[in-house]
């Protein structure tokens, strides 16, 4: 990776702090326009369009959930068919071994069960959670990111990252403060 400037060893990146969601969103648009790719914003609540402003587009979770739902339907219905018609067929009230209508409600529930768990598990896994340590937690005021302040970090691994230039760039975005983040 060709770095424009030398960055010191053990540096994760630079982090800017903002007072308002509007400043953070404007900064995110300008960070993207300036060509930074390894940047992330941190806010105490979801801000619509913020991830997209940073060039993040992902449509994986709905696909996983669809697959999970189909797997759940097949698993539930398959379990019912196998236990009632193949493994131990029993005549109960003269109803057919393969009572396909009666098998719908449990299969419906397993569909929802598998899809819902897939949604949560893929969300947590794609986010890389649980992650007890992350360099952004080294920022002295970062505990405010879950309360009332807004942060934006540019990673040192970004090809366009230059410690002084990037610091000046972030400071020029209405940032309240810019700090370096150790690995």
């Amino acid at each position: 990776m060709a770095h424009l400037g030398e960055s010191p060893q053990g540096l994760y990146g630079l982090m800017a702090e903002f007072d308002t969601a509007q400043q953070l969103l404007d900064a995110a648009h300008r960070v993207r326009a300036a060509g930074y790719h390894l940047a992330d914003a941190y806010s105490p609540f979801p801000i619509h369009g913020l991830a997209e402003a940073l060039g993040f587009h992902e449509h994986k979770i709905p696909k996983f959930v669809l697959a999970g739902g189909i797997a759940g339907a097949l698993a539930g219905y398959g379990l019912e068919y196998w236990t009632q018609a193949i493994d131990y067929p029993m005549n109960i009230g003269g109803r057919p071994f393969f009572s396909w209508v009666s098998f719908i409600p449990p299969a419906f529930e397993t569909t929802i069960l598998f899809a819902a768990f897939t949604a949560v598990i893929t969300m947590i896994a794609l986010n890389g959670l649980p992650q007890p340590y992350h360099p952004v937690f080294n920022a002295p005021r970062f505990s405010r990111a879950s309360q009332d302040k807004f942060f934006l970090a540019i990673e040192a691994a970004d090809p366009r990252f230059h410690l002084e230039q990037t610091r000046a760039f972030l400071a020029g975005l209405d940032a309240r403060e810019v700090v370096t983040l150790d690995e």
Binding site: A51, I112, V120, S146
Partner: protein, 474 residues
């Protein structure tokens, strides 16, 4: 600048001061800091209100009664309960259906109102979801313990591969019920936990005690509020809402199948699924109001749970109550119109010459007559009146299940097998014990976790909806 499509402050369609104008969902003058401070301060404090101890004291005493009743049940068997042939099902299923129904409002508020973009759901969804979980836990006690030997229920209820090679009978609605309720409990639990993650991170960052910081930190999974994480989080949350919506409708539908699939007059009715679902939402909103009104006063949450919320919930209670009453009308009409002598007898026995006719009229008083007070805006805004009405509804919905179950069973086809049903002291100890368990869990929850979703409350502030630059993505 492009105007965001979801701005919180919309131009009012009413002239200034018009009484029809809706009240704001959050009182004016709040900031991120004041919301966070108020909602975390309720928990991260050494001060516990005296009323909290009083409620826990009473409800935990009831839990002790529950423990005694269940221990005696395991020692002696289910003969200690009053149900016997022909009333083979009584308090166990009445209470089960009552509790499951109460739980439904939590999912309705958190999922269906989210899909309909109702911003007033935000300050009530968290504790309504908690209420769902605890109500389902109380409900589960009844089917599990009515088996008498719950340690064997693993292979009676679930397709657990056992040494006898037996499987549950999937043609039976009772097994559908097991699948529906266990799915509902699991999905409600993860929905609730996912909603809590960002607030747990707030607690982690605000807690001062190192042990608390660590515990909340572990539960928060290292959440750091990254834009990418929020993006996936919102996708997953919306999908969960979309999945929970058909789930919640299916759960009470399946519960109603326990009755509707049987051939017994009074149970065998096609109106049951929608009528049960409406009843569940009705009972659930009544319970949300039962909890919200005192908790709001106890913790001074008037800024977050405004009259708008309480009034809207009262309106939902009224309208679902009318749907339930329509269900009563349909049952009576079907009984008469079927021309079947057993159906007609069941209806007459239920309404006027049966020994349990009093319960039908008490039911109509609680579920039909008293809630009509909620038509009046003045009465809807009087919390003492609303609280009284919802207490009637709580009782009424219990009576509804009593009427359906006991009056249908006690006089079926053969007069020689008619018999009265009388609950025993153990039945009542179990019922009131679960009420105690529910209140205990609810108050412990309010003490250790945020009862209002903090991060969603922040999104209600107008400054949380920034505008995108011209041509920017939205």
């Amino acid at each position: 600048m492009k105007q965001s499509t979801e701005t919180y402050v919309e131009p009012s369609q009413y002239p200034a001061g018009d009484f029809r104008e809706p009240i704001a969902v959050i009182a004016p003058g709040h900031s991120y800091d004041s919301i966070t401070g108020k909602l975390t301060g309720m928990v991260l404090t050494k001060h516990t209100p005296l009323a909290w101890f009083v409620v826990i004291g009473i409800s935990f005493t009831l839990v002790m009664g529950l423990m005694m009743a269940l221990t005696y049940l395991l020692a002696k068997g289910i003969g200690i309960w009053g149900n016997n042939i022909p009333v083979g099902w009584a308090f166990d299923i009445i209470n089960f259906v009552w509790w499951i129904g109460i739980g439904h409002a939590g999912t309705l508020i958190s999922a269906i109102l989210l899909l309909f973009k109702q911003d007033w759901r935000t300050s009530i969804n968290r504790f309504a979801e908690a209420m769902t979980l605890f109500a389902v836990a109380c409900a589960a006690i009844f089917p599990i313990f009515h088996t008498g030997r719950p340690w064997l229920a693993a292979y009676w209820l679930f397709p657990y591969p056992n040494t006898m090679n037996l499987w549950p009978n999937f043609r039976s609605p009772l097994i559908w019920d097991v699948f529906a309720v266990s799915t509902y409990a699991s999905v409600s639990a993860i929905f609730w936990f996912v909603g809590l993650i960002p607030d747990l991170a707030t607690f982690r960052d605000r807690a001062e005690h190192p042990v608390l910081k660590r515990v909340y930190g572990m539960l928060a999974l290292g959440w750091r509020g990254s834009a990418k994480h929020w993006y996936r989080y919102e996708t997953a949350y919306l999908l969960l809402a979309g999945l929970s919506t058909p789930l919640v409708l299916s759960v009470h539908t399946v519960v109603s199948f326990d009755f509707a699939v049987a051939v017994l007059p009074g149970w065998h009715a096609t109106i049951f699924p929608p009528y049960f679902v409406a009843g569940a939402i009705y009972a659930g909103f009544a319970m949300v109001l039962t909890l919200a009104i005192p908790l709001r006063a106890l913790y001074g949450l008037h800024d977050f749970i405004t009259m708008r919320h309480l009034e809207n919930m009262a309106k939902v209670t009224l309208i679902t109550g009318l749907v339930v009453v329509y269900g009563y009308g349909c049952e009576a009409f079907f009984g008469w119109y079927s021309g079947n002598e057993y159906e007609r007898f069941m209806m007459k026995n239920r309404v006027y010459y049966g020994p349990y006719a009093w319960s039908y009229w008490a039911l109509l008083l609680c579920n039909f007559i008293v809630p009509q007070m909620l038509w009046s805006k003045r009465l809807r805004r009087n919390l003492a009146v609303v609280f009284t009405v919802v207490m009637f509804v709580n009782v009424g919905m219990w009576l509804e299940r009593f009427v359906i179950i006991v009056t249908s069973l006690h006089r079926d086809f053969l007069p020689s097998s008619w018999q009265m049903y009388y609950p025993t002291v153990w039945d009542f100890m179990t019922l009131f014990g679960t009420i105690g368990l529910f209140l205990t869990l609810m108050f412990v929850f309010v003490r250790i976790l945020p009862m209002i979703s903090i991060f969603e409350m922040r999104t209600l502030l107008p400054e949380s909806r920034p505008h995108h630059p011209e041509g920017g993505s939205h």
